[in-house]
Amino acid sequence: MLDAKIPAGELNNKWTDYKGHCKLVNPANKRKLEVIVVGTGLAGASAAATLGELGYKVKTFCFQDSPRRAHSIAAQGGINAAKNYQNDGDSVFRLFYDTIKGGDYRAREGNVHRLSEVSGAIIDQCVAQGVPFAREYGGLLSNRSFGGTQVQRTFYAAGQTGQQLLIGAYQALERQISLGNVTQYSRHEMLDVVVIDGKTRGIIAKDLVTGKLERHFGHAVLLCTGGYGNVFYLSTNAMASNATAIWKAHRKGAFMGNPCFTQIHPTCIPVSGDHQSKLTLMSESLRNDGRIWVPKAKNDTRKAIDIPEEERDYYLERRYPAFGNLVPRDVASRAAKERCDEGYGVGSSKQAVYLDFSAAIVRYGKIEVSKQGLENITEDQIIVLGKEVVKEKYGNLFDMYEKITGENPYELPMRIYPAVHYTMGGLWVDYELMTTVPGLYALGEANFSDHGANRLGASALMQGLADGYFVIPYTIGNFLADEIYNKPITVDHPAFVEAEKTVSDRLNTLMNVKGKQSVESLHKRLGKIMWEKCGMARNAEGLKQAIVEIQQLKKEFWSDVKIPGEINEFNPELDKAGRVADFIELGELMCIDALNREESCGGHFREEHQTEEGEALRHDDKFMYVSTWESKGEHEWELHKEELKYDVIKPSQRNYK
Amino acid sequence: MTWKEVFTSSVGKKLVMSFTGIFLILFLVVHVGLNACIWANDGGTMFNAGAHFMGNNVVPRILEIGLFVGLLLHIIQGIMLELSNRSKRNVKYAIDYGNQGSKWYSRSMGLLGTLILIFLVIHLADFWIPNRAHQGFLLGEEINLYEKMKLEFSELWVVIVYTLGCLSLGYHLAHGFQSAFRTIGVHNKRYNLMLTSLGYGFSVVVTFAFIMMPWSFFLHIIQ
């Protein structure tokens, strides 16, 4: 049995008790302890900055040209916090409850409650750093609603919240660099973890500019490398977002938790053709004001504006009157897929639904009329006023939509379709965020811990920053306190030499395949298998097929991949090849996990397990556990189960009606 | 931060350009105002009276030294800035960004400044140097500058050189005027708009007035 090391005692006091009793490292000793942070997104940058402030010697690594480019930057909508500034009934418990329920009862109570407890401090910290959150005229912070909740607890900075938070963390990180507490390695990719005597002792990193391999020692290693949505090839992740760091850690003994839990985001711009390289998200905040609909008639080819009101099916409002367009992401995505599968889809591909702002434009227009005290106003003037309000709220998102599609969303409804967005699964970690390898931690999206089977909107930013600013600074001390007796290990140690050799051999093998197929084309094929058989809906037969196909693809990859250029130079194709090779292995494990979990929960929808109304049907009696996989060989994994205990919340069928 | 650090930094160098630029703009106001006396068309009586005050009174003559110091600072700093800025991109673009993003004259301040400098040398050689030499570089007797203008501007090529020189000055001002105020930190939209408009107005009016002077003589509009 895995021990999650959740502190005993009442849920409300667990974190306080933990902080009161965990071991501390004195300032003089902190200076002697080295910590490696891989990845510089919200989790990585905030952790590195905070550990630097505490006095540890920190090294950060990112494959991008600057820490500020990590994909956290693309998060649009906002960040949740149980501040209850709106006086609308929010509380730490309510955020905790919403997150557990939103995650379809597959997350740990202890972790989620801690997340909820520290959420308020994150906002305070970010404001103090100069993050320009949206404000009301009175000068106080503004909030908006997000899916799966009935309170307004989301803090935001227009449609660029992730950018602003990341820049806040990045600035804190750069400050520590200037103070000499942190050393930054940009355009460096971690390619292996070094484990000595059962503890993580460093990493092998590749300088992407020169192709040179480097050895770095650390008393602890933090993986903050984000999610692996790019297994699907098309996703809203950045092009180079990858699973390599967590996968290497997995192969070195860290267990993977719930790898099949993938979030498909309901509002993305639909695929336009085979050339498509990535998908673009339209923030969930749009569902505050946009209404989702399809025509009531199948294969209706009329233009959206020619379809009269009574012939439109606002299917989310119809099916879920209580939450309407603001149901959680998994529910909204499945509902869109259901309509399109039934033949009600719109656009040339028929794989899209409408997200319509016309009602909101009129509503805001009328509010403006009364605000400004205008008289004798025509319909058209109301619409002009309304469009201005909508522009202020969502202008940048509307512009982005128009750039990509060439259509004006102020005039025509947006066409949207679900796309892979986030992976709830990741490295298994205990309450201290430590993986099954001592000294190796995983933070943010890279771990599996807080979102269960489905993440609520605006919670990813919250978790990344909670882990980095407020959790790891305490929990890492509990491990490092015992490390003060261990002097830094020289990187000439045989374990470093061997790890470097493994990495270098693999790179040479890749370069020497000299086959016929490009990395990109093989990645596309993996994505197709994953999307069709391990995507929004899964079934046993498809998953079994997928496993066979992926194993076949792996063989093809290693015998027929074609990589141009040299090994000792800046070679993005070689870097991509390494990442895709890892995606292929991870894809196989995702299918195995999805096949094992014979129930539907959150983002994991097994067609064999649904209610009569087509909702996800959980089997709490059999699957109330975290599937945790140990790597046992090339195609072999052993399943370990971490039982989930609910002391405070009673799991029930999720109801958003 | 020491003064040296301030004035050797990129922003500090710009501050020098800006302060001296504004000072020179003020000089232009005086210069154009005084010269406009030629249009009194009184055979140069009023103009020569003004010129006499400027050349024969100790106060403007001391200010004149300040003018040359400001001018030299503006020229030297300008040349150094231009050379330094040009050295920041060793490999040039194959296709220039050109006028898509900025006005040609805003990118050509170095060139315009050089043209103005050349013109200035000619201009000083025409009027200021003979006059001061005649004065023994002290407060001696002056030459009749009005008659001198009449003589100089009877030649078409001189009039054309002056026209081109003044046009260079006009474009230099069209950018320089508002840029100087941006450099000293005017960032409010309303004042920037005001100063930009004022700058364009100033450059057009001053340039036009200066250009009309030689032409007025050449075309015998004034006697």
Binding site: V127, Q171, M400, P572 | L81, Q100
Partner: protein, 254 residues
């Protein structure tokens, strides 16, 4: 929106590494859909090159949704291509016509040395931020977020400056290779907020000193940076920086 396909001639800067002299190479691409993004067109060219056994063209890109600031490219004489307020990754092929020749160059500035082909080293921007582009507040020091009301207009202006994605297009567009728009966006972002107030004098002086050290030019207010900025950061931020700098130098002790 009418879709169409096009054939294009691409003149691309190729340079093996920092030391290499580099030069243009010309390529043909066929049947490019107007729906593609510019980078997807380059992906197709790279597939073509790999299939022909040639080295792929290196170019920086990551999020492909116009926010990470990784993509660069100087396209037909304009950073990020022809569209206003746009990044290269969001530029779509409907901006081009069949038969057109497109010239693609890397950002050019001594402070941004070329790493390979179209990829440049922008680490100088990180060092400028390290010089003072932050608020010195350790984790855990913060008071409640609503303790300090901030005038909405001021907060909005600060946000408008903070939108800078650090792509370097301003430097690429500037005839002086000046980084002033980038630096001023950070100075303005923080100077406009009460949180950034205590350090605003030292911040502006240190960041400018670092900018000069990195080899960027001086600003001559031409406005080319503002015109090319994908986030349309206003030139008035530069004036605000100048004001801060002037005040800082006038009130300095030494």
């Amino acid at each position: 929106m009418e879709h169409y396909n096009m054939n294009l001639t691409l003149k691309v800067w190729r340079q093996k590494n920092k030391e290499d002299k580099g030069g243009f190479q010309t390529f043909q691409v066929k049947d490019i859909s107007s729906e593609m993004s510019f980078l997807e067109m380059l992906d197709i060219l790279n597939e073509q090159l790999i299939n022909e056994g040639k080295d792929a063209i290196a170019f920086d890109h990551d999020c492909r949704e116009g926010i990470c600031g990784t993509c660069s490219l100087y396209i037909n004489g304009k950073p990020h291509g022809e569209w206003k307020g746009n990044t290269t990754c969001q530029l779509h092929m409907r901006a081009f016509k069949d038969g057109e020749t497109i010239t693609i160059e890397p950002w050019r500035a001594n402070a941004f040395p070329v790493i390979k082909d179209l990829v440049v080293d922008r680490s100088s921007f990180d060092r400028i931020i390290q010089a003072g582009g932050y608020v010195s507040v350790n984790t855990g020091n913060a008071m409640d977020g609503n303790c300090l009301p901030i005038d909405k207009n001021r907060a909005d202006d600060s946000f408008a400056a903070a939108m800078c994605i650090g792509c370097g297009a301003c430097v690429a567009a500037c005839k002086n290779s000046s980084a002033m728009l980038f630096v001023s966006a950070k100075v303005s972002h923080l100077a406009l907020l009460p949180q950034g107030e205590p350090e605003k004098r030292s911040r502006v002086m240190n960041m400018i000193a670092q900018m000069d050290k990195e080899g960027f030019g001086a600003c001559t207010n031409t406005g080319a940076c503002e015109a090319t900025c994908p986030k349309e950061i206003s030139l008035s931020n530069i004036s605000r920086l100048n004001k801060e700098y002037l005040f800082a130098s006038l009130t300095a002790d030494k």
